[in-house]
Assembly symmetry: C2
Homo-oligomer: 258 residues x 2
Amino acid sequence: MSADMLRGDAVRTQARSGLLTGPTCGLAPGYLQANLVIVPRDLAFEFLLFCQRNPKPCPILDVLDPGTWQPRVVAKDADIRTDLPRYRVYERGVLVEEPSDIVRRWRDDLVTFLLGCSFSFEAAMQRAALPVRHIEEGRNVPMYRTNIGCTPAHPFAGPLVVTMRPLTPSQAIEAAVITSRFPQAHGSPVHFGDPQAIGIADLTRPDFGEAVTVRAGEVPVFWACGVTPQAVVMEAKPEIAITHSPGCMFVTDRLAGQ
Amino acid sequence: MSADMLRGDAVRTQARSGLLTGPTCGLAPGYLQANLVIVPRDLAFEFLLFCQRNPKPCPILDVLDPGTWQPRVVAKDADIRTDLPRYRVYERGVLVEEPSDIVRRWRDDLVTFLLGCSFSFEAAMQRAALPVRHIEEGRNVPMYRTNIGCTPAHPFAGPLVVTMRPLTPSQAIEAAVITSRFPQAHGSPVHFGDPQAIGIADLTRPDFGEAVTVRAGEVPVFWACGVTPQAVVMEAKPEIAITHSPGCMFVTDRLAGQ
């Protein structure tokens, strides 16, 4: 990676100028990255309530005032409308556009939610010499729909989506302890072992992302995933909703673990 | 205290039947007690945002769906309209009534917030043999307006209100560690020592509650207080707002520290 991608603000500047339009995984190492969800104000209470009731899949980093595009807390001088590499715009649950900025789409009643992302705890796992298989194999993390229901906040409801990382039992225990220190990045795992116990039929066929190798002596370990709130928002079919494009996160100025 | 006041549900039953119309301090020891704030749905997003931005004065125990009076999480079979000993009803910021139930006042658009209360961490301080002066002296805890501004969520804004407990330096350190384990009951202190550093002119004249003795060798230690969100709601002058009457909290089924 070039030296100009080492800090959160540098990555945002590259995204703003249109030079960066792809995934942020591995950029600005150590900086908290965030899932983006934007909904109209008339659904903002219910969506904030959904996040508050489901903190593992929806750890709140910041919520902006209606109509505001400048984060107050996690990133100075940022513009939520331009500083992500790519966005997804949904109308009544249907993906209509995948632009590199949303300036044209902005409205005074839009409310921006920045939610934690697992990239942060993966860096901590790597520092502890724990394997992060999808990074080793150069793939997107495998994600699965489970049969674990989120606590609903009408009209927001749906199943928990999880990510999976294969680990040996002793590594899994260490990973549980380490990731528990990152409640703003989904925290400790929600399950390990038998995938069917949480409604996953086949580990080799993830619902999102790509399958990774589970080696002999390893068990699959599952963490709550930031795709959960996105799936739940799409399912509620709001008039308009905007998210980041998969893997193209908002990079903050905040160091993970702060 | 009679044996029938040892559990959260027993206290709620007494309040519901009208037998208990006074403070809940000391009742159902070990059970989490909650501040009550009820606002109309059209302000619920902004108030939830205020709580999320100011977790020390406003630790969220539960937020009910609009129109719902049964807590989902913290108390089984409870009725928020009857199970507190006494309520305060405000219209456009003016106290208009202090009834023992709010059945008559209920509306389908009212949203109930249950916020943590310092009673829980005081029990933990007492178990650690730390003095809780206002309990020793049989008074209400002294509360003060500070010059520390809360992070606003328009139209909700205002100063942090704090409680004060006098402790020796070594006790203050122990109390900081102990109360940090109760983030749902305001957590660790926000200040100790010089009251003027946070805008308190005279410790002997609290803005709410009663003054307590500060002994030689003790320093005042200040914690965020649940009166903060109430003051902020009154200041915003909503069409209607309902809170508990001072000291007459909602007693949950949840043990403190869980």
